[in-house]
């Protein structure tokens, strides 16, 4: 069941919110688990966000690498470019 699970963990802060909300919005299968100070986003196989959605949610032009500021941990294979950030596991 957990064979190909991937996750992202963010700080539970205002700066992280557009990223967390984008993961929630763009990955309907994902589940969110709020723990003290942090939020964990889980899914099977893949989690991805796009620059357009994060920018829309933040109300400004966001560089996806800003996720480094609030990222706590992750599991999976990272694939990133200007327009998207993806974490996968087959």
């Amino acid at each position: 069941m957990s064979e190909n699970k991937v996750f992202m963990i963010f700080q539970d802060t205002a700066d992280a919110r557009p990223f967390v909300d984008a993961f929630e919005q763009e990955n309907p299968e994902a589940s969110l688990d709020y723990q003290p100070g942090m939020v964990r986003i889980d899914a099977m196989g893949e989690l991805s966000i796009s620059q357009a959605v994060v920018s829309e949610l933040a109300g400004r032009d966001v560089d996806l690498q800003e996720l480094h500021l609030t990222l706590v941990s992750l599991s999976g294979n990272v694939d990133e470019d200007d327009e998207y950030f993806k974490i996968t596991r087959q």
């Binding site: 957990s2 991937v6 996750f7 100070g37 480094h68 990222l71 294979n77």
Partner: protein, 514 residues
């Protein structure tokens, strides 16, 4: 018109490719002299793929931003005397263990990655290691800076680097890093980036920092998560190095698997300290060690190694044993510290009734059966004024350096202490487990040189033969250790909070010769 900005892939390529050169004044093997002696074969460094394509300008920009955020929190924390808002001063003991045991490792990692940045001949790997080296230094500095506020109000945090090099329980994390740092560069990176950071580091930082949040310690949450935000980059480096090594040459596979086996077990043993911190030292625990192990090791590492099986890699040896031990580990480690807390620079105490019930609930298969009776007995002894302190010096495992207190959990005999012995050049060497014995037997010439604190005390190298002499040599002050109940910190905490003084008297260990 400004030129169109290059895309991320291109920007990163320009930073990491084509910047190296073929040396002509010296042989390449001499310039990168560490790259071959471990038997690792690299055919093409250009196949190195960086998952996070951070350029130098982006790196500095984000790191500066992280520090700015952290220092703003630290300032307001100090300004508002926010140390008074933590759940209880007994919580601070987790921070003492952190700055004594973990912060010096950050500094060791800084040095280790600086060496790698110099010794790897591939530019992509050089840059990743250079950034990590700077990150690790930042972690050591921000941790010292954040915890310096606590150092003004609580004991045991005044000289962590000196303690780290000398103290019996700190030789556990220190010896693990010494082991990695004295190995070749590929073993070091497999150990620290993969076995420790990718496979196990979530167990250190995530529950620790979530625990800090749960106990009202905003400053620690902030430095912890600030460090952890770099950690995500380090973890992906760990994963990349493993894939890179096994893809470069088939001969690398058995070497890498051997390192994964060894360093998984080494790092896991170090985390025994974290298990105690999580289950026994946090007044409010958001998650038990067992729960964290199930999520971050069983589930996460299961998925990871499933992913890596296509490269021929398998789960680290003895991982099943570590999982079986997850229901015992924190209780056993805490038991060791209960015996020897008079020789430590932090305080612990018997768990409260509320904590005992929490432990029963979290450890339904082990706590009531094996560990509650022992704690009940110790509580009775304390009531009778016979608080038990162990005045002998324990036998240490030659590899992990932990006092021999782990039991035969994997052999279904959880109350029998595990001992293993190896013979090397006519002498006996003791280890605590099959995992540590395998490590010893594979490189006995390395581990016979281990600096074992107990042996060193007996050899007269630690300031003297009496406990107070040794404590002085550790730079411990008399008020640093012992039971939390009746401790100087507890008294000071009650004064700071304007609470009435408790009448508990501390249990004094009888001073005996070592």
């Amino acid at each position: 018109m400004a030129a169109k900005r290059l895309n991320m892939r291109k920007r990163y390529e320009l930073l990491t490719r084509g910047l190296g050169w073929e040396p002509t004044y010296q042989d390449k093997e001499k310039v990168f002299s560490n790259e071959t002696y471990e038997g690792i074969k690299i055919t093409n460094w250009d196949k190195w793929e960086d998952p996070f394509r951070l350029t130098a300008d982006a790196y500095w920009k984000y790191q500066a931003e992280k520090d700015k955020k952290l220092y703003a929190v630290m300032d307001s924390f100090a300004q508002n005397n926010a140390h008074l808002n933590v759940s209880d001063a007994s919580y601070i003991n987790a921070l003492k263990l952190f700055i004594q045991g973990v912060t010096p490792l950050e500094y060791q990692a800084h040095r280790g990655y600086a060496r790698l940045a110099r010794q790897f001949s591939g530019e992509g790997a050089q840059i990743a290691c250079q950034m990590q080296s700077i990150d690790e230094l930042r972690h050591a500095q921000t941790q010292i800076h954040t915890l310096s506020h606590y150092n003004k109000h609580f004991n045991g945090m005044h000289d962590p680097f000196h303690m780290h090099d000398r103290v019996w329980y700190l030789s556990v994390p220190k010896s693990y890093f010494d082991d990695a740092k004295s190995a070749g560069p590929f073993e070091f990176i497999t150990s620290v980036s993969f076995a420790f950071e990718y496979v196990l580091t979530n167990l250190l930082f995530v529950p620790f920092m979530s625990g800090a949040a749960y106990n009202g310690d905003m400053a620690t949450v902030t430095f912890g998560f600030s460090a952890q935000s770099d950690e995500s980059r380090h973890m992906t480096l760990g994963l990349e190095i493993i894939k890179f090594l096994v893809e470069q040459h088939e001969d690398n596979l058995p070497i890498v698997q051997g390192w994964i086996d060894k360093h998984f077990w080494r790092a896991y043993r170090v985390l025994g300290l974290v298990s105690m911190m999580q289950d026994y030292m946090l007044p409010e625990s958001p998650m038990s060690w067992k729960e964290a192990w199930d999520i971050y090791f069983v589930e996460n590492a299961g998925a990871l190694f499933n992913d890596l099986s296509r490269y021929g890699l398998r789960m680290p040896k003895y991982h099943e044993q570590a999982t079986l031990e997850a229901e015992h580990l924190s209780h056993q480690v805490w038991g060791i510290f209960y015996n020897y807390i008079h020789a430590a620079a932090f305080n612990i105490g018997l768990p409260t009734e509320k904590k005992m019930d929490w432990l029963s609930e979290k450890y339904p298969n082990t706590f009531d059966q094996h560990y509650r009776p022992r704690i009940d007995m110790w509580r009775e002894m304390e009531k009778d004024g016979k608080r038990f302190f162990n005045m002998g010096l324990p036998q240490l495992c030659q590899v992990c350096q932990i006092p021999m207190g782990f039991t035969e959990v994997a052999k279904d005999d959880p109350m029998q202490i595990a001992y293993r012995v190896s013979n090397y050049q006519g002498e006996k060497f003791h280890t605590c487990s099959d995992g540590c014995k395998d490590i010893f037997d594979n490189e006995p010439e390395k581990y016979v040189n281990a600096w074992l604190p107990v042996h060193q005390i007996f050899q007269g190298n630690c300031g003297g033969a009496e406990i107070p002499d040794i404590m002085k040599w550790y730079h411990f002050r008399p008020e640093d250790g012992g039971d939390y109940n009746g401790s100087a910190d507890q008294k000071h905490w009650q004064e700071m909070r304007g609470e009435t003084k408790q009448t508990d008297t501390p249990s004094e260990p009888v001073q005996a010769s070592a």
